[in-house]
Amino acid sequence: MKIKLPSNMRAGASMGAGAPDPPEPVTTPLAAPVAPMVPPPVAAAGVEPESGSAPASGPALWAGEQAPAGSVIGQVLPMYFVGDESHSMAGEPIAAVNQGLIDLRDEVAKHPLIGKKVRFGIITFAETAQTRLELSELSEELALPTLAPRGRGTSYASAFEALRQTIPADVALLKGNGYQVHRPSVFFLSDGLPTEKADKWKQRLAELKDPSFRERPNILAFGVGEADPAVIGQLASSPRYGFMMTTGASTAGAIAEFAASMLNSMVASAERLDRGEQTIEFEKPEGFVQLDAPLV
């Protein structure tokens, strides 16, 4: 399940791969002009560094450039884990969720390229929904919540409503901070049936999937334990994205496989960010069957 980190990954984000000596300060222009065919620019092409404005070992040439206010500084993919914290998850299942989240954080944090491109949030639901982790960069220092069974109910509606509120706010915040934001993804996991009226959660689900909802997420839905495949299948944003644990499998084992798949999906999706694909990269986890769900 683990991502194997190739040996060519170096710790840290230092400069100059394959260059043992730190680069000398460059004060000449990068480009010595050849046969200029246009008038030279008014400003000199090579600028002296302004102190503190350059990466420590970067060529000084680039140091004078200040990022204009409101300009783009990076691209990110928001991903949310939406997990069931109802009583039926007590014991090994919830322990498997917690361990899976720790592994996910540790593996992504170790990856030299993915960590910066993904933002991860955790929302749980029982009778109510709670944001347990605000959308965060997965670094080794990130403190994860420990999920624990609470309450008697299983309100899917509260989870969908929380997503409907959270996602636009998160996207706006990321954009405000200068990021290009890719379509968010939701990994939904439940081990039981919703304990509210079907009309209620279906209404909230429809609002989340509404094509006019600009930040509508891709939803991957996973059923374990006593979850109803027919219900899980309706939650997914594409028929390919609904999965149900194989009959007779261990719930905790299936959750571990789910968590591994969530990690792999995160890596594969972040890899293709630049392509602008709308679909999320995902392969069926071991111990699950893909539900041929109709689109809601």
Binding site: V38, Q180, D274, R275
Partner: protein, 296 residues
């Protein structure tokens, strides 16, 4: 040594290890793995020179992610001269990452499309039939797919799974520029610090990024075609989204850096090094063809 009474010249050690050009926060430093691609795909290609009063620089560099995983560069470029009509023909292509041999798709698309333009110019009928150019490039992909899989009846759909690529082609004669594109590889006219989109209007970055991409051989319609005038103070830029994404319309520090460094044609190798800038979260392949017009 020098004659008595004259000071010795200062001896300077040649230093090559300069590290990458950094714009903003650098990406992680990794040691690139060689790509095990067949046919051979070099990590970086760089070209440039003058023709018919035009000055051109062209480069295609493998993205950091593929350097990390050992994948082949899926972008490609091609330059071609048509002597009789004094036309520079240039193409860039961005292989769709979901397609298994899109590196080859991109390579075929740029070569066949530029050859098709040259053949049309040979016929001396005047204008370029861009629809025909793109059809021939698409057909080359289908033919290659048929050859590789041994199925003479394979069609556009099957070829799209293995060889899909965007394609952007320009014909420059004097100051007359014609550009045609299928997919999201954009062209710009850079004048001073202003990037004027010529074709493939970049994503609206106030919304979410994403939405799939049009690609050959399964293009939904004719290419978008645009004609412009390449004034002496402007540079025509043909690029792939690996550059267009961090460029983000040109308002930020990537746009400022490029505008400054391309105010005059840089040395060919420096041009490639500039294109290979390090910037956190941007790790896709990048290609750029820059054409400076005739001096007045």
């Amino acid at each position: 040594m020098t004659a008595a009474g004259r000071s010795a010249p200062v001896r300077r050690r040649v230093r090559l290890a300069r590290g990458p050009v950094t714009i903003g926060e650098p990406a992680a430093a990794i040691e690139a793995r060689l790509a095990a691609a067949e046919p051979y795909r070099p990590d970086t290609i760089a070209d440039g020179g003058t023709a018919f009063g035009l000055t051109v620089r062209a480069a295609s560099v493998r993205g950091l992610y593929k350097r990390y995983t050992g994948g082949p560069r899926q972008d490609d470029i091609c330059l071609r001269l048509h002597a009789d009509s004094e036309t520079l023909i240039a193409a860039v292509a961005d292989g769709v990452s979901g397609a298994s041999r899109s590196d080859l798709g991109a390579a075929l698309a740029v070569r066949y499309s530029t050859a098709a333009v040259a053949r049309q110019l040979d016929s001396g009928t005047g204008g370029i039939d861009w629809g025909g150019v793109f059809e021939q490039a698409a057909w080359a992909l289908v033919e290659e797919h048929r050859r590789a899989c041994g199925d003479a009846g394979a069609g556009v759909e099957e070829a799209s799974w293995s060889l899909a690529t965007t394609l952007l082609v320009a014909a420059v004669r004097g100051s007359d520029v014609e550009v045609a594109a299928v997919g999201d590889s954009p062209a710009f006219l850079l004048t001073g610090r202003v990037y004027d989109a010529v074709v493939a209007e970049p994503e609206r970055f106030d919304g979410l990024v994403g939405g799939g991409v049009d690609a050959l051989p399964r293009s939904p319609g004719p290419p978008s075609v645009s004609t412009r005038s390449l004034d002496s103070g402007s540079v025509l830029l043909l690029c792939t989204d690996g550059l267009a994404m961090p460029l983000a319309g040109g308002d930020g520090e990537v746009g400022a850096t490029l505008a400054r460094e391309l105010s005059r044609p840089p040395d060919v190798v420096d041009f490639a090094r500039l294109l290979d800038f390090s910037r956190s979260t941007y790790d896709d392949d990048r290609s750029l063809v820059a054409v400076w017009g005739p001096a007045r």
